[in-house]
Amino acid sequence: MLKTNRKTLLCFLLPAFFAVFATVIWPTVYTFYLAFSEGTRYFSMLIRDPIFFVSLQNIITFVLTVTIAELGLGICMATFAHGLTARSKSIMQTIFIIPIIITPIAVAAIWRIMYHPLFGIFNFTLTSIGLPAQSWLGSTVLAMPSIMMIDIWQWSFFFALLLMAGLSAMPRETSEASQIDGASRWQIFRHVELPHLKDLIIIIVVIRVIDACKTFEIFWGTTGGGPGFYTMTLNVYGYSQTFRWGHVQYGAVISLTLLLVLIFSTVFLLKRLRAK
């Protein structure tokens, strides 16, 4: 590489650097200021707030469950699609893109309709085979799993698409050789394909964990945190405190807690998974 003129360097990089600073770094610092401008007052409010702890628990459960489920489903669908003919694979690829590109608030609305206790398709199916209708979004037990299902539906295909690409990039000789040697499909997957995909899987999981912490629309558009506070997450809670109930500074503290959760999970994941 040739040496670069200093002025050119700045010209190329400075606008982006400035834009990122102004739209990400500075707002984060400002929110810190909002949260702690009156000392630790809001922080002590936080640790005495039961809803805060419920929200924290909910987001952690949510992120863990959906990531694992989406990874599992994604791997299954990717390996299945990988074994198809080129034309079928291409069709699958197109189909897999569709859930991902629908705006999440509409996804929330559609699933809310399907979950409707009286007119929804799920309860209709249940009652026609003699099972009792469920209150999917109204039951304290079912609400969270129902919302998790929405996320799993939309993002499993994200894993599937990327893993399909990863599998396609793998040299075929090794799996074909193993197949000739008599290995079963499962054995081939475990000992040949999986190690190859390990790095890709780590990256996708980290990305998905970060994005799962940020999940908002499917909670907001279905239950808004209810019933009671059973589906309240840190994101929805911070948003509600700030914009629904007007407690801007308290909402700021809550949002920073979520930021902490996000940073810790990412660092933790990267350390643990890279070491493997």
Binding site: M1, L2, K3, T4, N5, T8, L9, C11, F12, L13, A16, F17, A19, V20, T23, V24, I25, P27, T28, Y30, L34, F80, L84, S88, M92, Q93, T94, I95, I97, I98, P99, I101, I102, T103, P104, I105, A106, A109, I110, R112, I113, M114, H116, F119, S128, W153, A165, I207, I210, K214, G221, N235, Y239, T242, F243, V248, L256, L258, L259, L262
Partner: protein, 284 residues
Amino acid sequence: MINEGVKLKSIKKILRARFSRKIIGIIIVLFALFPVIWMVRTSFMYPGDALAIPPKILFTPTLSNYEYIFTAYDFGRYLFNSIIISVGAVVLAMVIGTPAAYALSRFTIKRKRDLEMFFLSTRMGLPLVILIAFFVQFRMLGLLDTHLALIIVYQAFTLPLVILMVKGFIDALPPEIEESALIDGCSRWGVLSKITLPAIAPGLIGTAIFALIFCYNEFLFASILTSVDARTAPVAIYGLISPERGLEWHHICAGATLMLLPILVLSLLVRKYLVRGLALGTAG
């Protein structure tokens, strides 16, 4: 006779494998598309049909839902806002981000690794944290409910994405042609515009559409930073879910289908680059 027995068994095995493969394939496709098909179907139904139990397979289709959201609900304007804002945000991000991506890829810079880490770590920027700060400041500056406000705020997640993806494309390009042009006296800007950009043009388009989808579908920032003038389509759809309006499913589905259509067409056109973009966007 033994040979024939063996042949029959293996034929049966192949048929069963092909059969179960088709079944699994159909299950997966249904899993992916069922809610979408249901949504599109409902958008063409009269309210009575939409709510019908058991669900109607045959029904008289209607365009009245689309008519309604355009006339009585002004959805056309909200869709227009969404397009303006997302295109504006992506154009800005591409203009700022492409040179930066080029610099990160080609230039020798002191502490380049740290710089790359800087841009990458912004992925962990939490939208809610950023939203609260922008809300307070924009309120003071009177910038609420403007298109510009969202175009600026959307840089927070669009710009890092663009930089990452474009850098990936530039990295994959062999630098020899650029280097010989530089030796011949071409400026860095010249190299960028006349050599690099044309070479990665498909990748640039893929990146732009990928970023466009995120801005277009965005709800969180739009819900707070807009109200009447700059309201976007996702916010409008949420407005249809409010309890006062009752079960307006047919309208909601019409709005959602309408939102999906342009994005679907775009995605299919650049499908190749979308998947590659997804891969590059996640590769660190």
